[in-house]
């Protein structure tokens, strides 16, 4: 079995949302592929870590104020009618793509750029609920990680903080680009995936900063 097929399903696997038959295939694959197994374990650890974080931490110091300000300036649910619609459409399509992939054990749907888009059957109520849930999860995870950072005064050198800030800006810019692209091509599943991946990357970068041992 190809790793790609398994990795497309790892999120659902760790969430316990895979169909039993698929979950068994994934588990079988882990026995012969430590890499995929490690990815699943890491994801599980991240989810446990995020879930285990306190819901509210009063920061003792004003650490990372610029990061926090910057992120607060860009709410995850983007403002503005068209923008919000584009993001909602993207996330909806990402969820839809997962729905399609769940029903298709073969190759994942090919590029939706240009033409020949896969036919996606959406269940509006369910998918929309998942979209809202996905958006909320990213926002929640980000807020919690920022709260953790605020509890670690002096943990990172100014250069490291600058690197993290710079790269958060890079990801922000990428999210803006993808969102703008989605406004032009709202049915593009690849872009939807890329948008979700960018959010995940942002979370991953923040998570890495929180897990970095004390530098000074």
């Amino acid at each position: 079995m190809r790793c790609e097929w398994v990795r497309d399903r790892i999120d659902d696997y760790v969430d316990g949302e895979l169909r039993r038959s698929e979950a068994l295939l994934v588990r079988d694959h882990f026995e012969s592929c430590p890499e995929c197994e490690l990815k699943a374990a890491r994801l599980l650890r991240l989810l446990e870590r995020v879930a285990g974080l306190p819901h509210r931490i009063e920061p003792t110091t004003d650490l990372w104020p610029s990061i926090a300000r910057k992120l607060e300036r860009r709410p995850l649910a983007l403002p503005g009618g068209r923008r919000l619609l584009a993001v909602a459409a993207a996330l909806l399509l990402a969820v839809a793509a997962v729905v399609v992939l769940r029903g298709n054990l073969g190759r994942p749907p090919r590029s939706a750029l240009g033409t020949s888009r896969p036919v996606t059957v959406l269940v509006p109520g369910t998918a929309l609920a998942e979209v809202a849930s996905a958006e909320a999860s990213f926002g929640d995870a980000r807020d919690r990680l920022l709260a953790v950072l605020q509890t670690r005064p002096g943990a990172l050198q100014p250069q490291t903080v600058a690197t993290v800030q710079k790269n958060l800006r890079v990801i922000d810019h990428a999210i803006s680009q993808i969102t703008a692209a989605l406004e032009q091509d709202p049915n593009n599943v690849d872009l939807a995936h890329q948008l979700v991946a960018s959010y995940q990357l942002e979370i991953s970068l923040l998570e890495r900063a929180t897990m970095t041992p004390v530098e000074l």
Partner: protein, 292 residues
Amino acid sequence: MRRVTTVLITFLLVAGTSWAQQKINETRAASPDGIVEIHNLAGSVDVVGWSKAEVEVTGMLGKGAERLAIDSSGKRTVIRVVLPRHAHNVDGSELTVHVPEGSRVEVETVSADVSAAGLSGKLDLESVSGDVSITGTPSQIECSSVSGTIKTETTAGNTSLETVSGKIKVARADGELSATSVSGSIAIEGGSITGGRLSTTSGTIRCEAAPTGSDSLKLKSLSGSVTLVVPKNLAADFELSTFSGNIHNEIGPKAERTSKYAPGRRAQFSTGAGGPHIEINSFSGTIELLTK
């Protein structure tokens, strides 16, 4: 008074020594196929494979670093530069670590550059801003740097390289390759790829490795240009598409408009008897399919 001065000078010399760089030279027995884990936040980490069943750490501990900790348990050796809590002005530590060549090596740094050479086991290298350089033929590579450059001489097996803004450069690919960057460029200069995915948001992608095998190869960028250079006689199935970019295709039919009203272009064709499925797409970046 003279005695007091002598004592004071002696004290200052001793104190000065402890805050200066400290030379390191430590050796531990290690399994030929064990795991070596290295943590050094700043400075450099050079890992070199050798034929001895030993781990040797040489180099300099940075000024202000507390100590070098080496812990062995079973097949795992953990090397860590320990810094004092709430210390300031700690310099980076420069470590050269010789390990058995078949070791699995895991390195984690923040700003320290990392190099690995002469290793045949799996490499798992992570840095925030350090550059990563790999030579030799490791069995598998998993490497990420947020803003540093990742350079590898070869890839093998299943390789995964990831950056946010750093560049990725592979001199000779071999096997399945996944390379991802947001704004950094990806350059695969030669070799062969049995499948995988190269993707960026705004970084350019240039791949000169020959696609082989039956798995699909995907090259995707939002706004960066994507160039694939293939041998003239390559047999493969191609699917090129862009929403608003251009397609320059040297080996197949001219790309067609996807719609009378939209700017998209697309080309789908096979060469020879067909073969690996190669998918290239961009949103606004230029796509080039060239021959060597």
